[in-house]
Every structure is written in C-alpha cells, then in structure tokens.
Symmetry: D2
Subunit: 436 residues, 4 copies
C-alpha cells in the first residue's frame, strides 16, 4: 500500500458499535495512519449518527489523535477515495429484525436474525442495497477494500462478488470469538491456539485445534461437552451432547445449535418471545440505554455497557484485517471469500468462511480438499439455499425465493415454507421493491 | 455374452413377488434362453418358498417352457454358476419393517421403509447380509451380474460397489413407474416419452421430459400440480402444490413427498398407524391372502391380486435389464450405479440413480454436469447420510450411526436422532451383530 | 420432431464430397423425409457448385425422389428454416491447406491439415467465418441442428458452443472408420463391436473394445501391432510398436501417429513434399479429376473414384446422426460435444470427442470419470492449446496465438513457434482480418 | 512442539553441501535448540563422510555451540528419535548423474539431472531407496518431519506421500532463488516481495509478483525479458524472448528453459558435453577441490568456494522450514505438498510445488482454483509423466516406464523414448533391482 494516510468510510456509522471501532483505531495509531473516518447513515438514523459523531469526536480528541471525524447522509462523499469501506447497516432497523424473529416461530420454525427464514428475509432486504453501495465504490473508490460485516455476511459477500467488481471480504466475529473461548478453555494465550476453520458464515466448524503443534481437538470437544462456556451472548447456551460432539469430530460454532438442536432452540425462542421479548426486542432496550449514555458530553471513551450488546471482537476482527492488508502481514484470518477450489465439491464462486492468509495483495484461503460426510451434507444444503436466496433477491423472483426457503434445512416442509415466505413478503413489503 | 443358456439365482425367492418375475421370464423366452431359476430363502421362509416352488412349477409347465425350477435353503448352490443373481429379501421380514415404520413416528419423525430412520434401520440390517452374499458370488459366480432390488437399493448398491468385486446394478421400480404414469398423463405410448432422470434412489427427479423431441416438462408439472395421478400404491397421494412444482422446475418422484411435504405425510402416517395399521401391517394381510391363493393347486399363473401388493413393473424393470445385458441392447435404463463424474460435485464412488446405457459390456451413465441448486443441496445432504450409514453398518460404529441419523434431512434434531437410534438398536438387536 | 419434411442446408456445398451425401440421403428416403437440399458456396466456388448442382439433380431424378435441389451463393436463403445445417467448407481452399502443410515442415515440425501448426492456421481462418454463419442460424433457423464437419472439428465446435446459441454437434469420420477397421480385423459385423471412445477430435482413443460383451481390447492391440490395416487413406501408415500399444493399453486413432511417432511422420512428410507433393497438392489433382467426371451429363450416381478422396463414411456418420435426432433413436454415436463432467478433470465447456447417446432431445455423453495418466497428460496439453487457439482466433490476439502454438505438443520450442506463427500470419494475411 | 532439544538426522551427510547446513544451524541457535546432528552415508561415501565430520566438528567448536556431531554408516541409529530427517543423497553418485546427462543427448533429447529422461532415471534409482528410509522413520521416529531435498524432489515427495505414513515436505532452492533474484531486480529487500508460486518442482511459475501490495508482474517480466540475471549457476542462461514472457503472463523458473527453449538448451548441452564436460563432470572437479579444502585441519568454517557448487539458499530454505514448524511461525514457504484441491483440475494426491503456510501443525497450501490454459497443459502433461514414473519405479514395470518417458514433453517420439529407456535400464542396471 502506497498511501501514507488512510480514509475509512463506515456505512451505517450511526450504529451503537461504532465507538468500539473508533477505540480500535485509536489503539492502532502506530501501525495504521488513519486520518479520516467518515460515518454515513440514512435519514431515519440521523439522530443516532449525530450522537455517534459527538462521542467519537470526543474520543479522538481525548486520545490526541489527528483523525478527522465526519458524519453525513452523503454516502457518495463518504465513499469517495476511501481506502477501506466498512458496512454495518441494517435495512429496516431493529423492528425489521424483530419481525424476522417473530414470523417463523408463528409456524414452529426457528426465528433467527441470520439463519433460517429470518436470515433469508434480511438477505432479501440487504442485497439490493449493498449492490447499490458497490456501484458507488466501483465509481468513486475502485481501489478500496470493502469489509462487509452486514449479515447474513456470507450471502451478502457472495452477492457482492458475483455481481460487482469491488474487492471485498466478508467478516464475522464468530470465528474470533471461538478462538478466544477455546483459548480460555485450554488456558493458553489465544496466539498459541491454532484452529482450522472451514464452513459457511454462521455455520463454521473448527475442524482441528492445536496448541503448540499438539492436536487438542478431542480435548476441546470434551470440554465443550462438559459444559464449558462456548456461546456468545446473543445465542441461547443450550448444552451440547458429548456423544454428538464425539461423533461429529469437529468443533461446531455457537450458531450450529440452530441446525443441530432445533427442538430446544425453538422452545427457548418461543418462551422468550412470549416473556422477555425476542432478541431484537431486548436489543432495542439496550440500544436506547447505550445512546442515552453516548449523549453524555462528558463521555469520551467506549462505555463498558457496550460489551453486553453482542458484537464482541468485531472491532479487533476488522481492524486486524485492515492491518494485515495495509502492512502486508500475511497473517491467517477467518474470513468470507470465494471458494476457488478450497472445498473441492463446492463451486468456485461460492463464498465460504475459512482460514485464509491476508496480505497487501489480498486474500488466499488455505486449501482443504475433501470434507468428511458429517460436514459436507449440511454445507451443500445451506449453500444451495444461499445461492437461491441471492438470485431471488437480485431478480425479485418468487419462484427462487420459494425454492430457497424450501431448501433451507431449518424449514422442514414446503407448505410452511410458502406460508412463511408470503408472510415475509407482506411484512417487508416496503423494503422489497424488487418483489413489488 | 457367450452362454447359450441362462441360470437365474433369486435370493429371497420365497417373496410374494416371485410369480411376477416368473411370468416375465415366460414372456421373454424368445429373447432370454433361461433354463434354470433357483429360488433360495432362509429357514424362516421355508413354507412360503415351497408354495412359490409349487406355483412357479405349474406356471412353467402350463407355458410348456423348458425351465428347471429349483427351490432350496442352499444359497451357495443357487449362486454357483448363475448368470444373474437377483436379490429381493428382507432381513427380519415384515415385522422388522413394521418396527421401522412405528419407531420414528413415536418421535414425530417420518416412519418409512426406505427413507428416514426406517430406511436407515433397514440398511443396518441388510448391508452385512448382502456383503456376505457377495462373497459367495465372488467365489462361485465371479462373472455373474447381480441385480439388487433390496431396499434401500441405493445404499445397498453403494456398499456392494465399495466393499466387493461383484458386478452389480441397483434397481428400483420408481423410475419405470414414473415413465408409465407420465406417459399416461401425456396420452402417449411409454416409448415415445423420454425422461432425463437423475438423483438418488427414492430421491430421483425427472429433470426434463420430452415427447417426440418436444420438451414437455412444464406441461407434465402442470398436470401433476392439477392432481393427475402421480403416486404409487404404497405412498399416500398427498397433492403437490403447483407453485412448488413450478419453482422446482423438475418432476419429483412419489417418494419426494417425504422430504418436501413432511407435515402432511407424517400426519397421515400417524393416523394410519393408529387406525388401519402401518403400511407393513397392511401388507402382512395382503401377503397372507396372496399365499392362500398361491397354494391353490389349480392356479398356474400370476393372480391379479398381486398387483395391489405395490411392486409394479419390478419384473419388467429387472428382466429388461437382463435383456439389455444379454442381448447387448445399448438401451437406456434408470438404474443405481457409481457416479464416476456423472454429477460433478459428488464423489466418483457415490452410487446415484440415473439414466444410463446398458449393454453386454455393462453400464455407462449419461453425463449430467452441474445440477441446479434446487436439487444439489438435498442430494448432497442425503448422500452424506448414506455414506455415513454404510460405514456405520459395516463397522458397527455407534458414532457413525449417530452422525448418519443426525445428517438425515428427515430427522430435524440430534436429541431425537439419538433417541431414535437407541430405539432402533434395541429393537433390532438380533439383526445387528456388528453393534452387539 | 414434429416436421414432416426436412430441409438440409449444406454450407460449402460445392465440395467434391457432396455426391456422397446425396447418395446417403437417397438411401434413407424411407426414414428421412428430405424434401429440400440447399447447397451454398462462395463466389470462388461457383463453377464447382454448378457442377455439383447438375450431378446431384441427375442423381435425385434417377432415384425418382421428390427432393428439390437448390444451389446458390445466398447463404441466408439456404439457412432460412433449415432443419439441419451441415458445414463442410474450407476457407482459402486447397491452396491454404497446402500452405498449412508446407510452412511447419520448413521448421522441422509436423505439417498437417488439422493438428499442429497447420490445424492451428486452419482454425484461425475458419472460426470467424463459422461464427458468422451461426449468427445467421440464430436469426433464421434457431431450431435447426448444426452438424459441423469443418476441421479442426473439435476446436470449431468449441468455438460455436462458447460464442453462440446454436445447437451444434461436431462430427468426424475417424471414429466410424476405427469401428469399421476394427470390426474387419475381428472378422465381426460392425454392429457386434462396441468401442468406448474418448478423447479430443483427431486425438481419440478407443479405451476398450468388446465383441458380444467380451473385452477384446488386448486382442485388437495385438492385431494393430502385428501390422493389420489401421490407417485412413490420408495418413501415412507408419507401423505401431507393439510394446508401445501394450504400454498404452488403449487403441490410438490413426492421427495419434503425429503425436507419438513424430520422427517417422515428419520424415515421410518431408519426402512427400519434395517428391509427390503434400497431401493437399495430391488432393488438388484428385479433385480436378473428380469434377471432370462430375461434369459428364450421363453421370447420375456417385462415381467410384470419390472413395479415394479420403472422407470415408462421412455421409453415413452425418446422416445416421440426422436419423438419430429426427427419429429419436437414442443410439450411440461418437461425436464432439461439451464435456459437462464427462472427463472429470476437464472444464465443463471443453468440447471433447466421445461416445454419446443421440435422440430427438439432443446429445448426452456417456460418463467416463478419471482417465489413466497415459491419456490425461496429452489430452490436457492439446485442450489447453485448443482453448488458446480459439481465443486467439476470436480476439485476433498475437499473444494468445503465440501461447497457443507454444502449448501445442507438436511444436517443441518457442523460437520455432514464433517463427512459424509469423509465417502463418504473413501467408494467411488475406484470410485473417482479425489479425490485420 | 514440546521437545526442548532438537536432533537432526542427515541422510547423505557426506555431501559437500553439509558445511552450509551446519553454518545455517549455527546462525539459528537462538531459535532452534539443535543438540545433535547425525550425518549418515553409505560405505562408498565413507571417506567424504569422515572429512565432513572433521570439518563440521571444528565449525561447532569454533562457534562454541553445544551440538553433538555424529557421523556413521548406521542409518537406523541416525533416524532413531530424530525430530527432523533431511535427505540429500544421490544414488549412484555423480557418475550416475553424468550418465543421466549423456544418455539422452545421444538421441537428441535434453539431458538434465532432474527433468526429462535424466530426471526419470534418477527417479527410478532414488524412489526405492527413499521408501526404504521411510520404513525406518515410520518405525524409529514416527513423529519426525522428513524434509526431502533429494531430486527429482516433486516425484520423490509424491512417492513418499503415496506409499508411506511419514510426515514429509519436499523442498527445492529454486523458489527461494527466484525470490532473491527478483528482489534484486526490483531493488527491494526480499521480504518486501511477494510471489504467488504454483506449479511442479522445477516447473514452477511465479504467477504474480507484488512489492508493497502493488502488482509488479509485468515489470518483472520486462526486466527478465531485457536480460537481467534470472538464472542459477547450474543452468545455462539462454535469454528469454520478451514477447514470449508477455504472452505467458507469468514468471517462469530457470528450469522452464528446458521445456520452452529446447533447441538452444540442447545445442548448449551437446557443446558442453563435447568440450568442457557435462554439468556432472564439471561438478566432480569442483567436489574434489572442495573436499581437498575441507580436509584442512585449520578450516573451521564454510569455505567461499562452496557457493560455486550450485545449491544456493538450500540451507536457508530448509532451516527456515524447520523454524516455521518448530516455532509455529505460520509463514509462507514454497514447498512440495499434496495438492488436495489447491489446483482444482489435478488429483488430490498429486504433489505440487506452491506457496503454503507452515506451522507447528504442518503445511497448508494457499488455494488457487483454475489455472490459465497457458499453464495447465504443461502441468498436466508433466504430472502424468510423474505419476507413471513413480508407479514404474515402485512396481519395476517396463510398460509404465515406457509410457512415462513417452509422456514426458521433452521426449518427442516414442521410438526415441524406447531407445533411451533401454539405454537407461542397461546403464543403471546395478541401481535398479526392481527391473532386474
């Protein structure tokens, strides 16, 4: 990278996570010469954006850093000449997420933000918007790297890579959280632990784990089966059956509970929806409280309470990636990237989540070859759903949308698939112009 | 083929289907010089075997054919020097099948003879026995072709091809039944209809249909969606949603209802189990009646009542295959055969069900290449289950059995998978020495 | 096929082969209701075209057939509403072929019409013209089948399939000639012999041969090694080393001599070029004599002398294909078709030459899977050359042309590759507008 | 890695290169706790081994290092409990290499130590010996890493991985030499240059080059075409045609001259063989001089003259690999490793040379996906040759040996292939017991 100063554009900058990102930038000033951060949001998020602008300006000032903070509704200005574009927006806001969670459980189907019908609805809303953003990047910052955090990150990244020329990497905090939790279990520093991660976004397995070159996979599986902490604070921590982990022979991610432990997870969701509210409804409260804190003109740092919000390590995951690219680190990151033969039975253009080396020249996944049948069936099933969902979103095709939901392993029956699809299309009508 | 006379060995010869097979042989005497049919069965089936022996001898005599009918419990004698070995046995008899149907529905899971946990239990019981038979064939009739009708035919054929040197073809009456039903729908002679069939056994789609070179796929889908007959008499005829067929763009087989229309099929199964008995329990009655008829010393032909039994076209499907091999017909048949690149994302050794050319030199599938995502997810999911189930059966591995059931798309949850597995292992204890 | 009458358009109809094609049509009037044959050619071939028109009209009349013979320079009129379009033209005529043969041998490299630098030059001249023809077919006869005989048939067919929507099949008389010669060797009727043919055009092997279901591959190899006739009358019959055939384990086609027996073939070519003239120069004489015969107003049948011309079985090969499509025969033909997984290590869109089933719905290759390393290296090398040559021809790219020739296994050195390329471009200047 | 001290076993320890390896170990004492180096050789090399033992003991002593130097003819003692086993032996010594160089040029074919028929002969001699060594490692040091330098390194490593359980990595100094030479061309420190290396051993291309994240591939190709130094001191530096480099679009390795510039390289070889002696014959002199120096009891360091010998960077390449494994560096090295989908059209078990990440858990190649046709043809052709050569060596099969040589792109004709093969088998009779 030749530039001596870095401009970051953050789409959806009014997010409550933003202070964590700024904190991460401030921690890395010696290695990342960030001189401009441009937060952009839409009209509906204007108030939050202004609160974020104030807080992050105070943070920068307190740190004595030479970073210009900009906040605007002008996406094109934010993108122009950016070195990195980060996306963390949510079409329809938390209310749309609450719908994504509530609609499926009406039909006795998992209602979750990123997997199952909920993730599907989110994909339909998000993909057209992100492709629009990419057009701006192609025009205004063709050399920029786009780091996509927007969920469902795998689907969205695949859409970007299939339909645009933008250099993009999909990013998720699940793999880094697994790294941290397993390191804690094994009582070793995180950098001593190596994980071979392969799968799809929110469907990633650590196929093997090593500490100091010793294969500790069986030990980790035993600890997970014994009930050691292995969840993230937005997923209900249903315990894992030790026999199942043993049979699987790979370390599932927390989201795998939705695929393997359907009964318990659905029961818990229905109970939550009835009692305390769905996860989105809980987050609405947290968010309101956070923004109340952020308003405080005395506050000039990320408040502790943000950690309860759920996006642990997002800031580190993304800024370590910026570091790897900018400083040509050639370090291993778990990211979402086009398959290109990494998993031999999947198409080249399918986006997978896997361990990859990142340097100034981009991303190269570590080759995997054949996967065990315990893994390959589920990956293919979910990838087929994803391909159909992307095409449905881009083409506004009812047929492909119906087939996508019918192919989703969390939707057990086509009659329910159709009822859920019709409900989603009705409820999200305003956010789905392609389906009008 | 150099031989001028043909010996057929039929393992499980005491089956109620046998008269249909003999009728088929008698119809083809001008093209197939069968001179010996050796029916073999086990001690428990001795009485039925003797009834079959009597009836088929009378049939041969009436036809004035020069065929020696043998019936014995001596499998090795039956196999020795056979030109074709046909398998149609059922380990554990109809009672085991009734268990296969009843156990899963206790856990709100599809209970079916060949798919889901029922088919899995049948595979565990059957595979070790069939591999044993293959050892005899390798020794006593190494040039024989084995035509395997034994369900689950895809799984069993894959086991044979992976673990033995026997030349085998898996066979099912579903594709030929689809050919007949669609031809009837289109009001054309069956030979004018061409179907491009690809999938797995009991999970096969007709991807395209032509009459006289015209693509009639959409028309067929419309007729099936309009409720024209498209079921077989052992599968409940739940109507297909026309929108779904349209979205799928391929003609599903009758068994696909268990995968796509889970709710309705399960509801019907539970009702039947409560009221009239499961399918196996109904068949027990039919069988008793059939054998009562067969005993009749006056009877010298296949009685009409056999057609209600469910195995339509089995005799034609298998004897047409014998004809294609013996007479080097190079005709297209839908059979179960090792993939070898036919579907490019599946392993070479995976057995698939597809259109293939059959001649005296054996079988060659018609290449397919990439499948649409609407198909590929389900195929991979079921094939992964099948691979695990085969290994579980051969190795007696609890882990692989657990993982197999957990990977089966009809089993929605690992907790239920485990409960069902334990129930299956307990109930089938006597037939599963590998798991002792 | 719904049409009750067939129109054939023959591009390059002024060829000396045309009477054989007409003879073939006349032999098949009971199964192919041909009512129109439209021969089209270019200005330079006008005289020959008129001679052909006269002779073929007399042939039709003598046979009492109801076929309208048309001959014109109006390609669009010929193509409009045709059921089959057959191409058999030669850009630059026999003089261009003579150049193709003479240029390489100046550099001690095989000079041959369809392989090596000669075939490359022919591809550069032919591909732009054939893509132009395809545009007419797309517009004027979108349902027509195009049967491409134009060499290099594999390359040309791949170009058609990559760059147009035309339904096309590439066709060559080599496989059918192998079938005839091997049947003669084995003293059996051709229809009793089954060959498993796989490879590329003019680089096709019969991997196995069966007579009556018995594998006779070793026996055929022995006979070929013992010197039994296994050549075609345009290829020098250099004897095969029996040890090599044994090591190869597959039956090479006559053209394989150019790849395996380079030294002897090159020596013979140089001698011929010095003494009797290259193959093209010999053919020029034969052609002149043939057209002298054709002029004879008394002649109303294909003269015997045509057989020496070299294209044995072309008429049968193509009309049997027309029959298979029109009458939905579902018979096996060896044709050039997109790979689609047939050979698993080649790209889906690579055109291969292989055994395939042909019916009214089109063509489906017989799956092959993995090839032995004795075969796979050469196939990949030649296919890489072909891909580069096609792109060079379409794009007029010097770089790709240079890389294509450098990748051709008959060109041993890049310095010679460049010299030959420059010579080809200079000599063919008038026929290569893309390279102007 | 748990061990706190490292034992290195060096098979072929009497090599003149050994002092460089010891120098490398002494430079890395702070990161690699080597406490024992055991050099082993065969009876014929005893004198050289003793000279090496003396010199390296003096080197260790001078450095004040705590390393036990052992030298013996007892291979099993050397291997027992080794952490790393390094192989650098030469079956038949330099005389065998001289034969490898002289035999092919008798037939106007490239005579080279590692490619073409010379490399083939070396593979036949070496593979049985290395598989024998692997049996000892499996028994006596099952956790050891084997670093194989023995040429032809790709072939030999593939044999090890196919036929043994030993953890092995094949290693070559070509990629590191390319890194050094290109960095010098670009006037940047080597660590600033990133190369994407993919191919086979001695047939590896740098597909892209970056300095500081800028793609400089075209610039490097231009410099190489302009005649900047890009050779190694055992390969004749025939200049590259700039147009060819441009067409190729990838940076060839020095050995590619044997494949692309056959005429010039062969001419130079014939001239050398006639005048100064083949490369082996020159090396014999250098070796004699080196050992004369090594004998000197005053010498306690690697003499400068060793650098002329030809194995530049071997010591660094291998010890950096030891470091990456022992210290879990997760750094990128270009090594020989099983493909496992890295290049999607090659078999999983084919050993390729490519950029890979190396850590304490082993090696993981960086995924590549599809290669351009300019590359893929040659790779497949050479890999097919390699597969056949390995099987020939292991099975002692004349047929496979004949087919291997016939498939080698440097052998243009099967008649010459056979003559060369027979010459090789005769000349190497004593070293090829499998072919006796």
């Amino acid at each position: 990278m030749m530039t001596k100063s870095l401009k970051l554009a953050i789409i959806g900058g009014g997010s409550s996570y933003t202070p964590e990102l700024v904190e991460g930038v401030l921690k890395r000033l010696d290695i990342l010469p960030v001189t401009e951060m441009h937060f952009v949001d839409i009209e509906a998020g204007k108030e939050k954006l202004e609160i974020i602008e104030g807080l992050t300006r105070r943070m920068v000032e307190k740190a004595g850093a030479n970073i210009e903070i900009k906040a605007s509704l002008d996406r094109r200005a934010a993108i122009a000449n950016a070195d990195f574009v980060m996306t963390q927006f949510r079409v329809g806001g938390l209310q749309a997420r609450a719908n994504d969670e509530r609609i499926p459980i009406k039909y006795d189907v998992i209602g979750q933000e990123t997997t199952g019908p909920g993730g599907f609805a989110k994909a339909l809303r998000t993909i057209p918007v992100i492709l629009d953003i990419c057009k701006d990047i192609e025009e205004l910052a063709p050399n920029a790297w786009m780091l996509n955090f927007t969920n469902p990150a795998g689907l969205v990244t695949e859409a970007i890579q299939k339909y645009t020329q933008v250099k993009s990497i999909g990013l998720c905090n699940v793999p880094v959280s697994m790294q941290m939790m397993i390191a804690e279990m094994m009582a070793c520093p995180p950098e001593k632990l190596s994980l071979e991660c392969i799968g799809l976004n929110h469907l990633v397995w650590a196929h093997r784990a090593w500490v100091d070159g010793q294969d500790v996979t069986a030990e980790v599986l035993k600890k997970v089966g014994d009930g050691q902490n292995f969840s993230m604070n937005n997923i209900f921590e249903e315990p894992w059956d030790p026999d199942f982990l043993n049979a699987l022979g790979a370390i599932p991610c927390p989201y795998h509970r939705y695929f393997y432990q359907v009964d318990a997870m659905l029961a818990e969701e229905k109970e939550s929806a009835r009692d305390g509210g769905t996860r989105a409804e809980q987050v609405m409260k947290t968010e309101a409280e956070l923004f109340e804190l952020y308003r405080d003109e005395e506050l000039a740092e990320k408040p502790k309470q943000l950690e309860m919000r759920g996006g642990a390590y997002y800031s580190d995951a993304s800024l370590n990636l910026v570091d790897a690219i900018y400083n040509d680190r050639k370090t291993i990151h778990v990211i979402n990237v086009a398959n290109n033969g990494t998993i031999s039975s999947l198409p080249d253009e399918a986006v997978i989540e896997c361990s990859a080396v990142v340097g100034s020249w981009g991303v190269r996944p570590l080759a995997v070859g054949k996967l065990s049948p315990a893994i390959t069936g589920l990956i293919h099933q979910v990838k087929a759903y994803e391909q159909l969902a992307i095409e449905a979103a881009v083409e506004g095709s009812y047929n492909k949308a119906f087939m996508a939901l019918s192919s989703n392993p969390l939707v057990p029956d086509i009659t329910r698939a159709k009822a859920i699809l019709d409900d989603i299309l009705r409820t999200n009508h305003d956010y789905l112009p392609n389906f009008a």
